[in-house]
């Protein structure tokens, strides 16, 4: 009898330590349930603590799964109906985000998307802990319970995104006549197996970089779709030192083949650049999240899945 009781107690203890425990009921839950009751709808509470309900269902749509790239529109509001931010069809292109890769803020949206399919619209109610509790700037009340109405317009794999980017790069090369060596000397564009395209515009001399070399670059960086996002002169670093961190693989690959004095266009698909970057809802708080060390600085410059062009001159 004593042994049986001990075993039972042990099992209870182990069970109580399970990491799959649902989030405890909080004051926010009370507020959310009251809101749901007032709407007369039924919503599901996920074990993480978010609530979601279907506004438009599409059982035949492509399900969102971890690692897939989701295109979506949204409307962010408080539970009183006040809109805080939105990106709708009328605003232009949908937003892209990689689900299940800790690349979406607020975190509750990342979780909510995982229950959706393409063509569906959900209401996702975020308690502060999965909403904006971490935000110290006060741009959004950290204690606010928020409602995201999300419309998923597409779900694709990363491979499909990269293929689209390669097509975009080929179109760019054609449009810019980069293979016309009279108009754009010196060499034709070379597409490498990684997807990076290299167009030598001026020959250099000497040796390509080896570890320990002090390298100096001038570069202008822009999106293939247009718009410059960075420019540097006399950017100095030690090749191979990876300090403070390595470069994006596409740029490193391009510079690795440059001689002193050489000038080249390096066209970098997102797979060799900033990949999924991070999708922040709303975009206006990106700077605040960077200040709070919640997302990396480059998120303010590079949206998810962007092809980049670096016009680089090695001047060392």
């Amino acid at each position: 009898m004593y042994k049986c009781c001990s075993l039972l107690l042990l099992l209870l203890l182990i069970g109580s330590c399970s990491k799959d425990d649902p989030a405890p009921v909080t004051q926010a839950d009370t507020e959310i349930r009251s809101y749901i009751d007032s709407l007369g709808i039924s919503a599901v509470r996920d074990e993480s603590g978010i609530y979601y309900y279907a506004i438009d269902s599409n059982p035949g749509g492509v399900p969102v799964s971890p690692g897939t790239v989701v295109s979506f529109y949204y409307r962010l509001s408080d539970l009183n109906g006040g809109t805080l931010a939105s990106v709708q069809r009328s605003d232009g292109d949908s937003l892209l985000a990689k689900q299940g890769a800790s690349a979406i803020y607020p975190v509750g949206l990342d979780i909510g998307l995982s229950f959706m399919r393409s063509g569906e619209t959900f209401g996702i109610i975020l308690p502060p802990s999965l909403g904006y509790e971490q935000l110290t700037s006060g741009a959004i009340d950290p204690d606010l319970v928020t409602l995201l109405e999300v419309e998923v317009v597409g779900v694709v794999s990363e491979a499909e995104v990269f293929n689209q980017e390669l097509t975009e790069m080929s179109d760019y090369v054609s449009d810019q006549n980069l293979n016309d060596l009279v108009a754009n000397p010196v060499d034709p564009v070379e597409f490498t197996t990684s997807g990076v395209a290299y167009k030598r515009k001026r020959e250099g001399s000497g040796l390509s970089p080896i570890n320990g070399d002090s390298i100096v670059l001038n570069y202008d960086a822009s999106f293939i779709s247009g718009g410059s996002f960075d420019s540097r002169s006399d950017f100095t670093f030690v090749w191979g030192a990876d300090i403070p961190r390595p470069f994006i693989p596409g740029l490193e690959f391009g510079v690795s083949r440059m001689l002193t004095g050489e000038n080249a266009l390096i066209i970098i698909p997102s797979s060799q650049g900033y990949r999924e970057s991070a999708q922040v809802i709303p975009a206006s708080i990106i700077g605040d999240l960077i200040d709070d060390s919640i997302i990396p600085d480059y998120v303010s410059t590079i949206p998810p899945y962007r092809t980049l062009i670096f016009d680089v001159t090695r001047v060392d």
Binding site: Y105, D230, F237, P244, I248, P296
Partner: protein, 361 residues
């Protein structure tokens, strides 16, 4: 044997009578009682050996420098000029400044540095590079660690004063130092050594300011030079004298033997001179609690007769030379001229296994 002891007893009584009757005159001269001059001289000195525990603080304020931190290193360099895109500072500014690797002070999460997998709430984001001008944002480090000191000193006693000198060797076990500001951003300073040695040579003065039964309370001040272990680069360090002040609480078991407990505080500092001209001053105060023994070498020897346990100092006639010698019958740690019961307050029969018995035998 008994005859011999009786003879010594008679001599002893005579000695006392002579001391009483021949006031102002040395009985040693009058009756030609031999005492070793060296013993008489050395008896004025106390030899003290103590050991215990030390609590050592390492603290410094960075000023006049830039403090740089990235995920792998921390270093400092003079803020005399604005830093360029790459910097080379100095690590290990506590003890042995070494040039750091040439480092870019770029933000590692800006373009064109690599993307970060799982970027939202990635722990690496809290560990970015940091460059602080310590003249604008005060920053320092402080840590406390333990040590084991061993001290040996010698002092001369006159009246209630003492003067002397000594030597202390101490093994310190150094822990990491915590930042005094910017906690959460600045990591702890990790010394490049786990333990080191300190040596101290000092002069000592003291004054017995209070007595209570067999206890003496002596204020002691020690001033001297200190040396640091090989982990400290002497060529990059300038340092002054150290000062130690403590209260020595001494239980006198006899006039030759005492047990000591001594708390004391120790003030010292050293300055690191960086090759680029910046200086960093380190305060390293310590608190000691030491226990030990102190002895005076008796001015007279033990009686050559093993069975001689006479309670008082007494005269012994050397059978070979016929000379009179003053000897003692009690060991070093027993009172030499005890009052009744001072040396044997409890009989052996009442000790150890019989200590709780009312009538052991």
């Amino acid at each position: 044997m008994i005859t011999g002891l009786k003879r010594y007893g008679v001599l002893c009584v005579l000695c006392i009578l002579f001391v009483q009757n021949v006031s102002g005159q040395s009985i040693y001269e009058k009756y030609d009682i031999y005492r070793s001059p060296f013993r008489v001289f050395i008896n004025k000195f106390s030899f003290t050996l103590t050991t215990g525990y030390s609590r050592n603080t390492y603290a410094h304020d960075l000023s006049g420098v830039f403090f740089y931190q990235d995920p792998v290193s921390q270093f400092v360099f003079s803020n005399g000029e604005n830093p360029g895109p790459t910097i080379t500072g100095f690590t290990d500014w506590l003890n042995n400044p070494q040039p750091g690797v040439e480092t870019s002070i770029e933000n590692p999460f800006l373009v064109p540095f690599d993307y970060l997998a799982n970027p939202v709430n990635n722990p690496l984001l809290g560990n970015q590079t940091l460059l602080v001008d310590t003249d604008s944002i005060p920053l320092g480090f402080r840590g406390v660690s333990g040590g084991i000191p061993v001290s040996l000193n010698l002092h001369y006693n006159f009246l209630d004063f003492r003067i002397g000198g000594g030597f202390t060797w101490e093994r310190q076990f150094v822990r990491e130092l915590e930042p005094t500001s910017l906690q959460g951003q600045v990591r702890n300073y990790q010394p490049n050594f786990k333990s080191t040695s300190y040596t101290r040579f000092y002069g000592l003065v003291g004054y017995r300011f209070y007595q209570f039964w067999t206890y003496d309370f002596v204020a002691e001040l020690m001033v001297g030079k200190f040396g640091q272990g090989k982990q400290f680069d002497g060529s990059a360090i300038s340092k002054g004298l150290f000062t130690n002040f403590g209260i020595s609480i001494e239980n006198n078991w006899s006039e030759y033997f005492r047990v000591i407990i001594k708390p004391s505080i120790d003030f010292k500092k050293h300055t690191i001179n960086l090759p680029d001209g910046a200086t960093i001053s380190h305060r390293t105060p310590s608190f000691f609690i030491q226990v030990g023994l102190s002895i005076n070498i008796p001015e007279i020897p033990r009686s050559p007769m093993k069975s001689d346990h006479v309670q008082l100092k007494h005269i012994y006639t050397d059978p070979k030379t016929g000379k009179l010698k003053e000897v003692r019958g009690q060991p070093l740690w027993k009172r030499q001229n005890p009052k009744v019961g001072e040396n044997h307050r409890r009989l052996w029969r009442y000790k150890w296994k019989n200590r709780k018995k009312l009538n052991p035998y």
